[in-house]
Structure formats: structure tokens, C-alpha cells
């Protein structure tokens, strides 16, 4: 009926060891996931939605008839809307009114996490802003807090609007907020996010910011990048090459 003393000490010891080990690993090999979006490459084929399709299929994201019910993890936004502070009368023709790929920025200082009353959303140690849909009560504070519109609320049951279901991933239920999770389930298997894999032009590059030799860091060194609404201090971790 009770746990033996030995089992208790064994468990406690292992737990302490695991905790110490975790700290050690975090110190030795830190991780900070981030993405670089090459907006120039992305503009070459403006009708391409492969990344969006791949993501939404992999995560059972529905296509809803009413636009104000729409749920999206990754989508295209007009340049002026994606980068309002960059807008001016003389915005270069290359970007004026052109679509830019946007998704959750997995901010270093995520406002959605600060407002969540149930800790259904939180920032993991690898910087990923994660969601626990089991715990979401649908208060939509996070939707209001996110300055990028990255979060969608399920106003209706998504199931009837999914022509095909992917078994690997759950759907959501009515009354729950959802957003991009950087494909954390795929990361756990050592695979890159679905959108990155689907891009034929490699316009999306994913990697570890904490590693100076990673592909994202190399790109950030080589190219000039901008971020969405940096003035808000959220430290977004999606970088755009423009």
C-alpha cells in the first residue's frame, strides 16, 4: 500500500540527479529555437502556399467558412500590416502590398504568457512558446495580448470543417485558443518544422540561436534582417530577410 522507504529515496535521488543533469545540459548546450524567413525568396512564387498547407494538414487546422472564425497557425499578411512601423509613402515596390509569411514569433518576452491565468501557455527552456490545450479555458486574454494576431480562437467545433484528419495530432475543441507550436512534437523526433520541410525554396530556415555555428546564426550574420514590431519589446524570434 505504501511506497517503501528505499523506493522513496531512490525516486528522490533520481529526481534530484535529473534536475541537476538538466541544469548542466542547459548550461553546456543551451538551445533557443528561431526561424529566419527569406521574404525575398518567398515573393518569387506568390501563389505558393505549400508551407501553410503542410502545417495546417499536419496539425488538423480547419478551414472555416466565416472569415472572422478563421483559425491559422501560419499565413500570409500584407507587408504593411506585418510591418506597420516600416510603412511609409515610399515603401519599395518589391514589398508594397506584397504578402509576407507570418506565424507565432515565439517571443523572448511573450505577452501572451504573462496574461494566461491558467498557465496553459508558457515559454519552454528552449524558448518555444508552448500551448497546453488541455488547460486552456478560452478566456482569450492571450489573443488580446499578442500584438501579432498569432492566436486563433475556436469559435466553432473544428471537426466538421476538416476534410481529412491527421491521426498524429489532435484537433482542438470549441472554446480553445491555438497557435503555432514550432512543431514541438516533430522537434522531439529530430525533424524540422513542417513548414520548413515543405518549402521548396528553403525560404524558411529553422535552427538554434544559441549555437553560433547554426544555420540561422550564419544567416543572421550574413544578411540584414528585421523583426515584426520590435518597438514593443517582445523580442520576436522570427527574423525576416527583406
Amino acid at each position: 500500500m505504501t511506497i517503501t522507504r528505499q523506493a522513496f529515496f531512490r525516486m528522490t535521488g533520481l529526481a534530484a540527479l535529473a534536475q541537476a543533469g538538466r541544469r548542466l545540459m542547459a548550461a553546456v548546450a543551451p538551445r533557443r529555437w528561431a526561424m529566419v524567413v527569406d521574404a525575398q525568396k518567398c515573393l518569387r512564387d506568390q501563389g505558393c502556399t505549400r508551407c501553410i498547407q503542410a502545417c495546417h494538414r499536419a496539425h488538423n487546422v480547419p478551414t472555416l467558412p466565416r472569415p472572422n472564425h478563421q483559425v491559422a497557425w501560419i499565413w500570409k499578411e500584407r507587408y504593411e500590416r506585418a510591418f506597420p512601423s516600416q510603412r511609409n509613402e515610399y515603401t519599395a515596390e518589391t514589398f508594397k502590398d506584397k504578402p509576407v509569411l507570418v506565424l507565432c514569433n515565439h517571443c523572448d518576452n511573450p505577452p501572451c504568457v504573462r496574461v494566461c491565468p491558467t498557465r496553459a501557455t508558457w515559454k519552454r527552456e528552449d524558448g518555444l512558446v508552448m500551448m497546453d490545450w488541455h488547460r486552456c479555458i478560452g478566456c482569450r486574454y492571450c489573443v488580446a495580448a499578442c500584438p501579432y494576431g498569432s492566436r486563433s480562437f475556436n469559435w466553432v467545433d473544428p471537426r466538421p470543417h476538416l476534410p481529412e484528419l491527421t491521426a498524429d495530432f489532435p484537433t482542438r475543441s470549441k472554446g480553445v485558443v491555438e497557435k503555432c507550436t514550432f512543431c514541438e512534437a516533430r522537434l522531439a523526433q529530430g525533424r524540422p518544422p513542417a513548414c520548413v520541410e515543405a518549402c521548396p525554396d528553403k525560404a524558411l530556415v529553422f535552427g538554434n540561436l544559441a549555437d553560433p555555428d547554426s544555420e540561422v546564426r550564419k544567416l543572421l550574420r550574413a544578411r540584414y534582417t528585421i523583426r515584426r514590431k520590435p518597438e514593443l519589446g517582445t523580442q520576436p524570434q522570427i527574423f525576416y530577410i527583406v
Partner: protein, 230 residues
């Protein structure tokens, strides 16, 4: 007592009607029969002893949920040492209980338990049309450079992270914490000749305890912690 006949007939009728469900079930032989569940053909042993699963599978599932979503720990070592990938649809359903109606639903219906809300979100494999899904994946015009890009992905990943994040199913060592826990759980349910009513509550005690110690210890995703632990 001139109305004796009427009164007695009425009483008999009333009693007969009131006790009808009992008689009906007796006559049908429904009361003595347990739920008619279909056991998986491929596997003999569940992730925990049957008695434990029967009484506390929901606790196990909640525990799994917390481990995967909050801790990022996706492997589970069963009391018999086998290592499973923690996934309701992927492991429980696709590997064993392929038809939800024949297993989950039959028992829940028998026990008059409302179908749990797990299935509001988690996918019953029956709902996945394998053909439609397969053909969609096949017909999707694969980007030409996809081979190299998929290669570049994991590579970049491995370089970036010392590939720390995957406690792979094969790497049984990674779930050291789940091990003793599972044992504690297993031994509880095994050593306890479980009487019907109190069983689940006696089980809940050490379980809750064990679970508490897990969440306190936080074996972190990455397997980074648990890997260097042993």
C-alpha cells in the same frame, strides 16, 4: 374489504412494473455479464497490469498527458521494462485497441460512464481515412528540392542542439524516472488483492504521491537531464 381483489391486483401490477427493469435484465442475462470487450490480437500485455489499468487508466493517461505536454518526456517504461512512446492515438489506439467502439466504448457504456472528452480532440483512428490521407500525401506535388531540404533540416538541428531533444523509444535509459515510478505503481496494484470499491481509492493514494514527486522533480524534455542522470 370488498375491494380486496382490486387492491391486490393493483399492488401486484404496480410491483411488477416497478421491478420490471430488474426482471428484464435478469431474463436477458445482462446483469451477470461483464462488458463484452474485444482484446487486441497482437499484444498480450498492456502498459501496466490489467487490474491497475482497469481501475486507474485515467490517472495514467493524465500522467502521460502532463509528461508529454508539460515536460516533453515522450517515452514511458512499463513495469515489465518495455518502453513505449507516449501517445493516446499513436500507441494505445493504433498499436492495440484499433477499434474504439470495441474496447473503450463498450466498457464505458457498461459502466454508464459518459464517453470522456479525450475524444473531442484526440483522433479516433477510425475517423482517419487512410486512403484519402495516403493519396493526399502522395498527390501533393513534392517540392523538387525537398530531399535536400529535409536533410538539411535535421542536420542543422543536430548541429544546433547536440540532438539533445529526443529521448528515442529505443533509448530506454532516458526514462529512468518513469521506471521506478512505474514500478511503484505496478507493485501497488499487484500486491493489492483489490476489493471492488476501495481498490481505486487505495491506488489513488500512492499514485498521487508518486505523481507529486515527479512533478517536483521535473524530468525535462530534452532527455538532457534524464540522460545524464543515471
Amino acid at each position: 374489504m370488498r375491494d380486496r381483489g382490486i387492491i391486490l391486483t393493483g399492488l401486484a401490477l404496480f410491483l411488477g412494473l416497478v421491478t420490471f427493469p430488474a426482471w428484464y435484465n435478469l431474463a436477458r442475462g445482462a446483469t451477470s455479464r461483464g462488458p463484452d470487450i474485444k482484446l487486441p490480437a497482437t499484444e498480450k500485455q498492456c502498459v501496466a497490469p490489467t487490474a491497475y489499468m482497469r481501475a486507474s487508466h485515467m490517472d495514467l493517461l493524465v500522467d502521460w498527458r502532463e509528461q508529454v505536454v508539460r515536460e516533453g518526456n515522450r517515452t514511458y517504461r512499463a513495469p515489465d521494462g518495455k518502453v513505449y512512446t507516449v501517445s493516446l492515438t499513436g500507441t494505445c489506439m493504433l498499436k492495440c485497441h484499433t477499434v474504439k467502439e470495441d474496447f473503450c466504448d463498450r466498457c464505458h457504456n457498461y459502466a454508464a460512464v459518459r464517453s470522456p472528452y479525450c475524444w473531442d480532440c484526440h483522433v479516433d483512428p477510425k475517423l482517419v481515412k487512410p486512403l484519402a490521407h495516403g493519396s493526399a500525401a502522395a498527390s501533393e506535388p513534392r517540392p523538387s528540392g525537398s530531399g535536400s531540404s529535409t536533410l538539411a533540416g535535421p542536420l542543422a538541428y543536430a548541429r544546433g542542439s547536440v540532438s539533445a531533444s529526443e529521448p528515442r523509444p529505443s533509448g530506454s535509459g532516458s526514462s529512468t524516472l518513469a521506471g521506478p515510478l512505474a514500478y511503484a505503481r505496478g507493485s501497488v496494484s499487484a500486491s493489492e488483492p483489490r476489493p471492488s470499491g476501495s481498490g481505486s481509492s487505495t491506488l489513488a493514494g500512492p499514485l498521487a504521491y508518486a505523481r507529486g514527486s515527479v512533478s517536483a522533480s521535473e524530468p525535462r524534455p530534452s532527455g538532457s537531464g534524464s540522460r545524464s542522470a543515471p
